[in-house]
């Protein structure tokens, strides 16, 4: 049969974000897929070398549009390690609560994209609405809805306002009480099973070999989470479980996302119960004259997409010498996607891509 070349994206209804895949198809089977990033390359890492340590915060959060908060955390953690700044205990708890809220918001956004792609518009709209409720919390706390610039070397920018803990609880109750509705309409729906089961299957060996992280890896049965292996913020202060599935297909990946959201919500309640009193930030040196001694560091955390890392080098000056983000979508979008799309049908491209949780800004940076 004759082979055709098809372009999926960057301007395609099924494409989420500025990304493109070139597909070699035979009939409706994909013979070969080639990922083309670069439509959103802004050269942030080069730009960061020309900004002072503190000026980089508004840049790093823009690396991932969907969940900027883990990017802030990475940069704040790296600067803290380089400059030897301690973070007060209350700030650690606030960070964890804030990051878990970000995770739920990001997963709801992912659920919106996935449900929308499958044609479950109602569920998609619910997810978007519930994400907005979380963005309302962020707006009250930081003044910004999408980019918050809230984490800071030495803690957080400001403490929780009065009564904020109660408002977190009530928002999460509003969202959590809708889980049965989500389950009935979407997760236990036969249509979802039929569309997603066995699609974009990855074996555990393949996933490990190609550097899968996050829920892509957890959907193949690997119980791996940086929050457990190398706890940061206050994740070692509360009990929680790592949700896993064993099939490694799109169905498992989306179920892991659902379970993770529920686990995060429970974790926020536990963290709020234990939230200690005290200072929310540590004073840092004058940012205009701040020089950090010559050293380098690699820090990592579990973002909602998987292992996120930052390799930061200082040459003793007032600006970073080199910053390199290790982003989860990089391996997922450039290596695993190409493998997972082989021998699948054209109709499943969006299904596989969104279930792998790929965000283009994270790849391009």
């Amino acid at each position: 049969m004759r082979e055709l070349e098809l372009y999926f994206g960057p301007q395609h209804l099924g494409m989420v974000g500025n990304f493109s895949i070139t597909l070699q198809v035979e009939g409706d089977r994909i013979v070969k897929a080639t990922a083309n990033p670069g439509f959103l390359h802004r050269g942030f890492e080069k730009l960061m070398e020309q900004r002072t340590w503190i000026q980089n915060f508004p840049l790093v959060c823009r690396i991932n549009v969907v969940e900027p908060d883990h990017m802030e955390l990475m940069y704040a953690m790296a600067v803290e390690k380089l400059a030897g700044i301690e973070v007060p205990e209350r700030a650690q708890f606030i960070r964890s609560i804030y990051l878990e809220l970000a995770r739920v918001g990001s997963h709801l956004f992912g659920l919106w994209a996935y449900a929308n792609m499958l044609g479950f518009d109602t569920v998609a709209n619910w997810a978007m609405y519930h994400r907005d409720l979380i963005l309302d919390l962020f707006e009250e706390l930081t003044g910004g809805r999408v980019y918050h610039i809230y984490l800071w070397p030495g803690g957080v920018r400001r403490d929780f306002p009065e009564g904020f803990e109660e408002r977190i609880r009530s928002t999460l109750h509003t969202i959590g009480s809708c889980v049965p509705d989500y389950d009935d309409t979407f997760f236990h729906n036969r249509l979802f099973y039929e569309r997603a089961h066995g699609v974009g299957k990855l074996s555990r060996e393949d996933a490990c070999r190609m550097g899968a992280v996050g829920q892509v890896l957890r959907a193949t049965g690997m119980k791996k989470d940086i929050r457990k292996t190398e706890p940061y913020a206050a994740y070692d202060q509360v009990d929680w479980e790592i949700p896993v599935r064993t099939d490694g297909d799109a169905y498992s990946r989306i179920w892991v996302v659902r379970d993770e959201m529920i686990e995060s919500v429970h974790m926020i309640f536990k963290l709020l119960d234990k939230l200690p009193k005290g200072e929310a930030y540590q004073r840092i040196p004058n940012p205009f004259k701040w020089k950090i001694p010559e050293s380098e560091v690699y820090v990592r955390c579990e973002s909602s997409r998987g292992e996120l890392g930052l390799y930061l080098v200082s040459d003793g000056g007032d600006k970073p010498c080199r910053a390199h983000f290790r982003t989860p979508s990089y391996s997922h979008g450039l290596t695993i996607l190409e493998k997972a799309l082989e021998n699948e049908s054209i109709a499943d491209v969006g299904n596989i891509m969104i279930s792998l949780y790929i965000t283009a800004p994270e790849i391009d940076r």
Partner: protein, 172 residues
Amino acid sequence: MKNPGKKLQDELRSMFESISTEGDGENRMTVKCRKEAVITMLSFLKKTGFDHLALISCVDRLNDNVLELVYILSSYGGDVAMQKLNILLKTTIPRENPQFYTATEIFGNASPYERELHELYGILFRGHPRLTPLFLEREYDIPPFRKDFDTRKYVKDVFDQIPFVDDKKGRT
């Protein structure tokens, strides 16, 4: 175990010549070696259990006239103490006409990282199956992430030339 990297440190020192290792006591271990040993070292570390390649990065050391390549490895399948440890494997290559060997046969996800470094630092990875452009649209004289690439000058030279929309000179 207090220092999970200690045993590995001794093992590496006994197996490889002229390497230097240092641990910072916080689950990070830096290993510096000659460039010829990197590929052997990577496959040895992979066999030892460091099966996850987190990042391949590069730092332009303009003062020493070298490019420093950094491979960051961690363990996803090992025991708890090992999973905490991250290894930063470093080597240096000359800045002029930089060439290196590909790690794509050892780590499946090395390919895009090497393509990125090829594009942004001009390093040629020998044996790479697909060293095609990844992000950039234009051609550059100096690879753009090198320290001697002047971003401001480049922006001024290239983008100051573009006329405004209502600028109709030259057409009429």
